[in-house]
C-alpha cells in the first residue's frame, strides 16, 4: 500500500496479489484517496485471507450470520482439575463482525487473553466451539487457522532479521520466494520500516519491534488479526501514536481486529465495539459510547471511567422509563431500555462530568459538603460528601474565566443533567 504525497484523487487497492488491473478478480477493497483521506470505498468486503493457502481450500466458505467473522459459542475453558482448577471462561458467547475493531476489555484474570488464545488455537476449549465465518475451527491447531497474532512480548525470532521475520508466515504457507519478498517489501512500507529490513531484531527499539510484530502478523493476510495487549510495553507518547496507527491500519486493510487490553481509555479510543469482561464472563458488549453512557452493571460502570454510585428508589414505571427518587428527596426522569426493571430500590450511576456545582442549594437535585478540590490541568475534580457519608465527584472543565470559586467546607448544590442518571440492573 503506497501513499502519495498529494495531488489528484488516487485509487488504491488492498488485497492479496495487488494485481489491481482487474478489480473484480483481485477480490480486494479499493478506496479512492484524496490527499490520503479515504473518500470512497468499493469492492468486496470479504477481503482478508483470500489468497492465503490455508483458506484457499475453504473457498466455499460463506458467512452464516450476516458479516460474522468470529463467533464464540458457549465457550468454557477450565485449567487444571479437581480442587485447584481455574474456570478461565464460563459459558462465553460473542459474535465479532467482519471488518470490525473489536476490543476485549477487562482486569487481569478476567479471561480476555484466554478467549484470544482460544481463537488463535493455542488452547482448546473445554466446552463449546469457535467458529470462523461459520466454520468450526475450535479443534484445529494454530497453524491451520487463518488467524494471526501480535503477541504482548512481540515474540520476534531473535535469530532472524526483520525481513526474515516478516516473511516467515508466507514461507510456511509455501509461497514462492519472489512473492514472499514482494509482500515483505509491502509490509515494510506499510509499517515504515524499509530502512531496517536487514537489521537483527535485538537491535531494534520497543516501538520498532512492535511494528515488525505487526507486519509479520499481517503479511500472510489473515482473516482475523489478534492483538494481545500489544501496546503495553510502550511509553505513553508512542502508545498514543500507535493507537491511532492501528486504528487506521484496520480501516485500510479491512481485516477484523480483535484487540485485548486492560486499559479502558485505550478501548474507548480505538474500538468499534467493546466487550467488557470480568471473572470469565462477558458483562456487556457494545460501541464505546453505549458502554460509557449506559453501563449494564456495577462492574462495568466502575471499570469504565469514573462514576458515582447512589442508592435510589424507582417509581412511576412506564413503558419508556420512570422516575427515580434520589436520597435528597428530589426525583429525576430516567429512560429504561427494556422492561427488566421493577419498582423499588435500585442502584444508579451518575458520571462526574454530567453533574454541575451550584451555590443555589435548595433547587439543586442533590446537596453535599465540599471536602476536596483536585486540580488536574484541564479539569477540576470536586470531591463532595453527601448526607449519609456517600462520596460524590463532580468534574468540570476549567474555563479561562472561572465564574464561581468554591472553598473546602462549602455546602453546595449538585445539578444533574437530563438523562444523566443511569439505572443499573443488579
Amino acid at each position: 500500500m503506497e501513499f502519495s504525497a498529494g495531488g489528484a484523487p488516487q485509487e488504491l487497492c488492498a488485497g492479496l496479489g495487488f494485481h489491481t488491473d482487474n478489480i473484480v478478480e483481485s477480490a480486494g477493497v479499493c478506496v479512492m484517496l484524496d490527499a490520503n483521506k479515504i473518500i470512497e470505498r468499493t469492492g468486496s468486503m470479504d477481503v482478508a485471507g483470500e489468497g492465503n493457502a490455508v483458506t484457499a481450500g475453504k473457498a466455499g466458505l460463506r458467512q452464516s450470520a450476516a458479516g460474522t467473522a468470529v463467533r464464540a459459542e458457549n465457550v468454557t475453558k477450565i485449567f487444571g482439575s479437581g480442587e485447584d482448577q481455574v474456570v478461565a471462561l464460563d459459558n462465553v458467547s460473542v459474535d465479532i463482525q467482519q471488518n470490525e475493531f473489536f476490543t476485549l476489555l477487562g482486569p487481569s484474570g478476567c479471561g480476555k487473553t484466554t478467549l484470544l488464545r482460544l481463537i488463535a488455537g493455542f488452547e482448546l476449549p473445554t466446552k463449546g466451539d469457535i467458529l470462523l465465518e461459520g466454520e468450526p475451527i475450535g479443534h484445529l491447531p494454530p497453524y491451520q487457522r487463518p488467524v494471526n497474532t501480535v503477541f504482548q512480548s512481540y515474540a520476534l525470532f531473535p535469530h532472524m532479521t526483520v525481513s526474515e521475520n516478516i516473511g516467515f508466515g508466507l514461507q510456511m504457507l509455501g509461497k514462492p520466494q519472489a512473492e514472499v519478498m514482494a509482500e515483505v517489501e509491502r509490509m515494510l512500507v506499510l509499517v515504515r520500516m524499509e530502512a531496517l529490513a536487514k537489521r537483527r531484531v535485538d537491535q531494534l527499539s520497543g516501538g520498532q519491534q512492535q511494528r515488525v510484530a505487526l507486519a509479520r502478523a499481517l503479511a500472510p493476510h489473515p482473516k482475523v488479526l489478534l492483538l494481545d495487549e500489544p501496546l503495553s510495553a510502550l511509553d505513553l507518547k508512542l502508545r498514543k501514536e500507535m493507537q491511532i496507527e492501528l486504528k487506521q491500519l484496520q480501516g485500510e486493510t479491512g481485516i477484523t481486529f480483535i484487540f485485548v487490553t486492560h486499559d479502558q481509555e485505550e478501548a474507548l479510543t480505538m474500538s468499534d465495539r467493546v466487550a467488557v469482561m470480568d471473572n470469565g464472563k462477558i458483562l456487556q458488549v457494545g460501541p464505546p459510547r453505549e458502554i460509557y453512557d449506559h453501563p449494564a452493571d456495577r462492574f462495568v460502570a466502575n471499570f469504565i471511567g469514573e462514576t458515582n454510585f447512589l442508592t435510589a428508589e424507582l417509581t412511576s414505571l412506564n413503558k419508556s422509563g420512570g422516575q427515580v427518587k434520589l436520597p435528597s428527596g428530589k426525583s429525576v426522569a430516567v429512560t429504561l431500555a427494556d422492561e427488566e426493571f421493577s419498582e423499588g430500590q435500585v442502584s444508579v450511576v451518575i458520571r462526574p462530568e454530567h453533574a454541575q456545582l451550584t451555590k443555589a442549594k435548595s433547587q439543586a437535585t442533590l446537596t453535599g459538603t465540599l471536602r476536596n478540590i483536585v486540580y488536574i490541568g484541564t479539569d477540576t475534580h470536586y470531591h463532595l460528601q453527601l448526607p449519609g457519608d456517600t462520596p460524590f465527584i463532580v468534574r468540570s472543565q476549567n474555563q479561562r474565566d472561572a465564574l464561581e470559586s468554591y472553598n473546602q467546607g462549602d455546602e453546595l448544590g449538585i445539578e444533574i443533567g437530563a438523562n444523566a442518571v443511569q439505572v443499573l440492573r443488579d
Binding site: D129, Q284, V285
Partner: protein, 321 residues
C-alpha cells in the same frame, strides 16, 4: 440496552463433549510425544547404567568361581565377606580387620576431603562471584580448565610434587630444612591432598552458581543493621549459599568415597580405599560376589549420605543435578 449477542439456539449437546474430548486427547498425545522423545535416552541409560546395578546385586548372592567369574549357586559368602572373614581352619567368623580399616579410611578421607574442599572452595567461589563482569570470565575460565582435564593427569601431577624426589622434597632439601626426603607419598595424607586437588573445582562451580545470583543489597542491609563482617557471613551469606554448598559437597563426597585412581597412585598398595578393594576382587582376589557386594555397600552408603545430606542440611535447588 444491548446485552450479549445471543447466538441462535443450536443443538450443543454432543458438540460440547466433543470440544472437551479433543482438548483431552490433544493433551494426552503431547504427553505421549514427550515420553517417546525421552525413551531412547532412558533405554541406553537403563541398559548401561541403571540396569546393570540390578545384575550386580544378583551376582553378590552367587558363589565365587575358582578363576574369577561366578558359579550359579546361591551363597551368602559375598555379603558376609564384606565385613567378616572365615577362618580357614576352623571356619569361625570374625571381623575382617583389613576390610573395616579400608571402610573407615574411605569414610574418613572422603569426609575430610569434602570439608577441606569446602573451606578452600567457598572463598574461591565467593571471590569469583564478586569480580566485576569483565574479569569474571577469566577466573571462570581458569577454574574450568582443571575441571575439564583428565583426572589421571592431575593425580599424576600431584605424585610428581610430593614424591621423594619430587618438587617439595627437593625444594626443602635444597633450602636445608630437612636432610632426608620426607615421606609424603603413599600415606593417607597424600590421598587426601590428591583428592582435594582433583575435586576442588567440583566444589567451586556449584557454589559459584548459587552465589552468582546473590543479591548484595542484603549484605548492605546487614551492615546497616550493625552486623560485623563475620556475622554477615555467618547469618546472611552462608544460609543463602546453602543450596550451592550442598550441591558442591555432594559432588565432592560421592566420587571421593568411591575413588580408585587417586588412592591407587597416591596410596600405593598399602593404603587402600574402598575402590581399590573392590577392584582387587575382580583382579587378583577373584571374588566377584564379594566385589559385587562391596560395590553395592558403597552404593548404599552413598544413597544414605545423599538422603541425610539433602534432607538434613538443606533443600537442593531444582529437581536434578
Amino acid at each position: 440496552m444491548s446485552g450479549l449477542n445471543q447466538a441462535p439456539a443450536l443443538d450443543m449437546t454432543g458438540k460440547e463433549d466433543q470440544a472437551g474430548a479433543v482438548a483431552e486427547s490433544a493433551r494426552r498425545a503431547e504427553v505421549r510425544g514427550n515420553v517417546l522423545l525421552t525413551t531412547p535416552a532412558l533405554i541406553v541409560l537403563f541398559c548401561c547404567a541403571s540396569g546393570p546395578l540390578l545384575i550386580m546385586l544378583v551376582y553378590s548372592f552367587l558363589t565365587a568361581g575358582d578363576y574369577g567369574g561366578i558359579i550359579w549357586g546361591i551363597s551368602g559368602d559375598g555379603w558376609s565377606n564384606v565385613f567378616m572373614q572365615r577362618d580357614i581352619f576352623d571356619g569361625t567368623l570374625s571381623i575382617a580387620d583389613a576390610h573395616v580399616t579400608i571402610f573407615w579410611r574411605s569414610l574418613k578421607l572422603s569426609i575430610l576431603t569434602t570439608v577441606v574442599a569446602l573451606i578452600l572452595g567457598f572463598p574461591t567461589a565467593y571471590f569469583i562471584a564478586t569480580r566485576p563482569l569483565k574479569t569474571r570470565n577469566l577466573w571462570l575460565f581458569l577454574i574450568t580448565i582443571p575441571f575439564w582435564t583428565n583426572l589421571l593427569i592431575r593425580t599424576f601431577a600431584i605424585v610428581e610434587v610430593i614424591r621423594n624426589q619430587g618438587l617439595i622434597n627437593t625444594a626443602l632439601m635444597s633450602f636445608g630444612v630437612i636432610d632426608e626426603p620426607y615421606q609424603i607419598l603413599f600415606t593417607d595424607f597424600a590421598i587426601m591432598v590428591g583428592m582435594t586437588y582433583v575435586y576442588l573445582p567440583l566444589m567451586v562451580l556449584p557454589i559459584y552458581a548459587s552465589m552468582e545470583k546473590f543479591d548484595f543489597r542484603l549484605v548492605e542491609a546487614g551492615y546497616d543493621l550493625y552486623a560485623t563482617k563475620m556475622k554477615v557471613l555467618w547469618r546472611i551469606i552462608l544460609p543463602l549459599a546453602k543450596p550451592g554448598i550442598v550441591a558442591g559437597s555432594i559432588l565432592v563426597f560421592i566420587p571421593s568415597l568411591g575413588a580408585y585412581v587417586t588412592p591407587r597412585l597416591l596410596g600405593g598398595g598399602k593404603n587402600m580405599m574402598l575402590g581399590n578393594l573392590i577392584e582387587l576382587q575382580f583382579g587378583q582376589g577373584r571374588n566377584w560376589p564379594l566385589g559385587a557386594a562391596l560395590s553395592f555397600t558403597l552404593l548404599l552408603i552413598v544413597m544414605a549420605a545423599l538422603i541425610i545430606y539433602v534432607r538434613g542440611v538443606g533443600k537442593s535447588d531444582g529437581q536434578h543435578g
